[in-house]
């Protein structure tokens, strides 16, 4: 898939996730917008996983540790053909399988997440299982930067290095915001790159909205014997001007007027992109 086609997908994913959040009247808008480019690259360019091989033990695995950004995952999985997109119209409704956090009720989702600080330990288990079987598939997880305050991440970081899990890649959605405010005001984790490096990880930083750069970093051969931490520098609320870097959009839901403005901005971005193509 060309960079342009991928960029187009990112815009469409944003339009869709905003639509379903607005219709449901609930959702984690800011963090979904900040991680959707990462999911786009993972599912469309990097991972060997699809509805066709989802029952195969050697498929690549993705565990979304920052489970609250489930709306981004839901639209990407629909696009991958795991279920018809129209099913997302039931998001958060009575008896819907599409709950406000990832569950295995939804095709394509590997593990239930939503309580922060669980993804990395699970991935250590998955990566270790693959190593024990001599399997070559890769394990990916997505962490929030506020989430890093959970001690379980650091316990798992030690285990991953100890077991030399070079089949494990963690991606940090480094948008520097959480619910209360800036991460450096709430519970600073900086310098986060040096922390993981000192824990024995191979650490690389990247612009988390640059699809080509993400592709390069995520497809690179992992450092032998080391787990990889990709620090993806992102903007919370990315793609909608009035949501970008605004704390309250963590779980803010657009009003009908805000929704129209947001969609108009994205449609504009789409036409610009299409213009460049022609």
């Amino acid at each position: 898939m060309t960079d342009h086609a991928l960029q187009l997908k990112s815009i469409q994913y944003r339009q869709k996730l905003l639509r379903y959040i607005t219709e449901a009247g609930a959702g984690h808008t800011g963090g979904s917008l900040s991680c959707v480019d990462i999911l786009n690259v993972l599912y469309n360019r990097i991972m060997n996983v699809s509805p066709d091989n989802f029952d195969q033990p050697d498929r690549d695995r993705y565990i979304q540790s920052k489970g609250h950004s489930v709306e981004a995952l839901y639209v990407v999985l629909a696009d991958q053909g795991f279920y018809p997109e129209a099913e997302l119209e039931t998001l958060c409704r009575y008896q819907s399988p599409f709950v406000g956090h990832p569950t295995r009720k939804v095709p394509g989702i590997e593990m239930n997440t939503g309580a922060l600080g669980h993804g990395l330990p699970i991935c250590v288990g998955l990566a270790l299982a693959a190593k024990l079987d001599g399997a070559r598939h890769r394990i990916f997880t997505l962490l929030g930067d506020g989430e890093l305050a959970e001690g379980s991440n650091w316990e798992a970081a030690m285990s991953a290095a100890h077991y030399e899990l070079d089949n494990l890649t963690a991606i940090l959605d480094h948008n520097t915001l959480q619910i209360t405010g800036h991460t450096h005001d709430v519970c600073s984790n900086e310098p986060v790159d040096e922390k993981f490096a000192s824990f024995g990880w191979y650490v690389v930083s990247v612009d988390g909205h640059d699809l080509a750069a993400l592709t390069e970093v995520l497809s690179a051969k992992p450092a032998a014997g080391k787990p990889t931490m990709v620090i993806a520098n992102t903007v919370k609320g990315r793609g909608v001007s009035f949501m970008e870097n605004v704390v309250s959009w963590h779980h803010g839901v657009p009003s009908p007027e805000q929704y129209e403005i947001a969609q108009a901005e994205l449609t504009q971005a789409e036409s610009t992109l299409l213009g460049q193509l022609n």
Binding site: Y94, I179, C187
Partner: protein
């Protein structure tokens, strides 16, 4: 564009609310936050400890007014409980405030050892308890917290049913010299009590007299018990309603009185049917040899249905209609429908 949030009360239940003259208060969450702030303004030893939960705990104004009395630890509930225990051991009156689901699951060992067994005067506030988080799903529900904490010695468990009970629970916690856990939700509550009502930890409050059925409810389910009792009275069935705001120590006398006075007992809680109020009441009744038909209403041992708190309540029969039906069936099946 979005669907209006379903109400916790059917139109018929809303009619009963007006018939009973119940007045709307505010969310227990808000009552908690302003009560704690009032107390903290008078007592500078009171500290709130939060885990990126200040907004969810409605403690924004507290943090602005008393910036020296709020401790933020980031998204780290184990750390939060440990720090809350340490502050209490260091002569502070500490209140650890975090969503009930994470607080009592993630940090259970810290609660057990650092708070309860070390016996420090710390208070833990479980916000948005039960299924308050609705469609956010099972990670965010706390259907286990009463069961888990009941099995740990040395902690008082309070589940207020309205703003009055919340205020009194927080005041009691602030002056307690042993561990306290208070859990409540974020829906707007109706005031259930008269100005004359007295609140005492460990003493249930009887909201209505009756000798056919006893509803023993706790927390945000109590109003539904009251509405069911009123509905049943239209059919000539007289129900007593007990607000069991203290889950531990449990008011055994009130339970035995209900079991002896009534022909059936229905317990109601926003919790798993395992290990909560219902099984506690059953234990009290059976061990005293009081054999009375009993139904435990709560959430069954299954993947909780998706929906708002209102959807989930209705789905599992925690509603005026659902509870009245359960009571009637219980009376019929036990052959004691006169």
């Amino acid at each position: 564009m979005s669907a209006p949030a379903p109400s916790l009360f059917s139109p018929a239940a809303q009619d009963v609310i007006s018939r009973l003259g119940l007045k709307k208060g505010r969310a227990n969450l808000e009552e908690f936050a302003s009560t704690l702030q009032e107390l903290a303004e008078q007592d500078r030893q009171i500290l709130a400890v939060t885990s990126d939960s200040r907004g969810s705990g409605k403690l924004g104004p507290f943090g602005k007014a008393l910036p020296q009395q709020i401790v933020e630890v980031g998204i780290a509930e184990q750390n939060l409980v440990g720090i809350t225990a340490g502050l209490a051991a260091g002569e502070k009156k500490s209140f650890g405030v975090s969503p009930a689901c994470f607080l009592t699951a993630r940090a259970l060992e810290q609660i057990k050892n650092d708070v309860c067994y070390s016996d420090v005067p710390a208070t833990l506030i479980g916000i948005s308890a039960g299924v308050s988080y609705g469609a956010l799903g099972s990670t965010h529900h706390s259907l286990h917290d009463l069961a888990a904490l009941r099995a740990i010695a040395n902690i008082t468990i309070l589940v207020p049913a309205d703003n009055f009970e919340t205020r009194e629970a927080i005041r009691a916690a602030a002056s307690a010299s042993h561990p306290v856990y208070v859990r409540f939700g974020k829906a707007v509550m109706f005031n259930l009590h008269t100005p004359a009502t007295k609140f005492e930890v460990g003493k249930a409050i009887k909201l209505r007299e009756g000798t056919d059925v006893a509803f023993i409810g706790t927390g945000e389910t109590v109003i539904h018990c009251l509405l069911a009792a009123e509905k049943l009275s239209q059919e000539g069935i007289q129900s007593q309603v007990v607000s069991m705001h203290t889950i531990k120590p449990l008011d055994a006398n009130a339970i035995l009185e209900a079991g002896r006075e009534c022909r059936a007992v229905v317990t109601v809680e926003e919790h798993s049917v395992h290990g909560g109020l219902g099984e506690a009441c059953a234990g009290v009744l059976m061990q005293a040899g009081v054999a009375v038909p009993l139904r435990i209403v709560g959430f069954p041992d299954e993947d909780t249905v998706t929906g708002s708190q209102a959807d989930i309540f209705r789905h599992y029969g925690v509603s005026m209609e659902g509870l009245a039906k359960t009571a009637l069936e219980l009376l019929e099946n036990s052959g004691s429908l006169a």
